[in-house]
């Protein structure tokens, strides 16, 4: 494999073990769009490869997660700049009735949250990270993670029953 064989071997082992998890986090951060999530993870892993010689083995998971959050946030911002749409009400997300379920509803609702609030909710309540770990991934204070995750959860609870009832009304 050449001069970079050791680096490549370690990186390959890490990516093989962790890639699915990173794609899952990215998908939740970009409203469930798997193609976009794949782009985010590819970019994040490239950044990780560049930094690999400097990243300690005990912090590589946190570093990779931070890369994914950063890239996903940047992706959201760039898309927002390109495609900003001002609406008085939240957009409806068309979902086929037979495919509809609570999971897809929550994923759609996550997409309505601001990027940092969404990241806090995903990292705390989906990935089960501690406040300190989430703060490290988001590169913000622990207090910010607490407030963002709490407000995000509250927003989801406010929106979730309405969606649920709306769908039953359609049926």
């Amino acid at each position: 494999m050449g001069r970079n064989s050791e680096r490549d071997r370690e990186f390959t082992e890490f990516v093989s073990a962790r890639r699915d998890g990173l794609v899952r986090v990215a998908a939740l951060l970009v409203s469930g769009d798997l193609a976009k999530a794949e782009d985010v993870v590819q970019t994040a892993l490239t950044k990780l490869y560049l930094a690999w010689p400097r990243v300690r083995s005990d912090t590589v998971d946190a570093y990779a997660r931070r890369c994914v959050v950063n890239v996903a946030t940047d992706e959201h911002r760039s898309l927002f700049r390109r495609r900003e749409q001002v609406r008085s009400q939240l957009p409806e997300t068309p979902v086929a009735d037979d495919a509809w379920n609570d999971n897809s509803t929550v994923v759609s609702l996550l997409g309505t949250l601001p990027a940092s609030m969404r990241a806090a909710v995903v990292l705390r309540y989906v990935e089960g990270l501690s406040i300190a770990e989430a703060a490290d991934a988001m590169r913000c204070s622990e207090g910010n993670v607490k407030s963002q995750s709490a407000r995000g959860l509250q927003r989801l609870r406010e929106l979730f029953p309405a969606r649920h009832l709306t769908n039953f009304a359609k049926g």
Partner: protein, 227 residues
């Protein structure tokens, strides 16, 4: 109706993650390789080959080069070594490129599908260390052109490379100042645009750079590093 918190906890099992087989992981590694190579070239663009700022006039080499667009750029000069002779290259050929001549006693110290480096005798011929940026200072580098292009300040000299039009000029050493490193761009028979980078300290004349370039063959394995 389930609570939102319960749904969130179950999402890891519900969100698809696509395909992450060995081919996908290999793609991640390949992107990493390309990023490392790009970074090396970018670092060179900022720091490479700048040795002595001599505030030489814009007209250095104007007897050979066509005039550049009006600009305040200055050429950064480096100490020039004695002229070298090109001799037949006897060593193993690089992966992405093949060469027929090199400066006498010089060695190919690094080669992959994106570039190869030729270093003078006495240089650190161990080659770049894994993960470390490569310094091209004092070495000849050959690659596909990628995104490199002459700055507007550079004079450009047209030369003949095996019947094709080559262009010799200078990159920028810093804002407003041209490096004394020379770049040669030329197309090969397969349509690749090849880039040869020669620091002034190497001591090759324009004609010798052209002769060196005439002996370069791009193989099917060569890849652009210009993004």
């Amino acid at each position: 109706m389930p609570d939102v918190m319960d749904v969130l906890k179950n999402l890891p099992d519900a969100v698809p993650t696509g395909h992450s087989g060995p081919d996908v992981v290999a793609g991640d590694v390949a992107r990493g390789h390309r990023a490392v190579t790009r970074r090396r070239w970018q670092r060179f663009g900022v720091t490479g080959a700048v040795v002595v700022v001599a505030a030489a006039a814009v007209g250095v080499g104007t007897g050979q080069f066509s005039p550049a667009p009006s600009s305040p750029a200055q050429v950064v000069a480096a100490p020039v070594a004695p002229r070298l002779e090109l001799v037949a290259y006897q060593g193993s050929q690089p992966v992405g490129f093949e060469v027929t001549t090199v400066p006498e006693n010089w060695k190919v110290i690094s080669s992959d599908t994106s570039s190869f480096l030729v270093a003078p005798p006495g240089a650190d011929i161990a080659g770049p260390k894994p993960g470390e940026p490569v310094s091209f200072e004092g070495q000849i580098a050959v690659s596909l052109q990628g995104l490199s292009k002459f700055p507007a300040e550079s004079p450009v000299k047209k030369v003949d490379i095996n019947g094709a039009d080559g262009r010799l000029g200078f990159p920028l050493a810093e804002e407003g100042k041209l490096s004394d490193t020379r770049w040669l761009f030329f197309p090969d028979n397969a349509g690749h645009s090849v880039q040869v980078q020669v620091p002034a300290s190497v001591g090759l004349s324009d004609d010798q750079i052209v002769s060196f370039a005439k002996g370069i063959t791009v193989t099917a394995q060569a890849q652009s590093i210009g993004g």
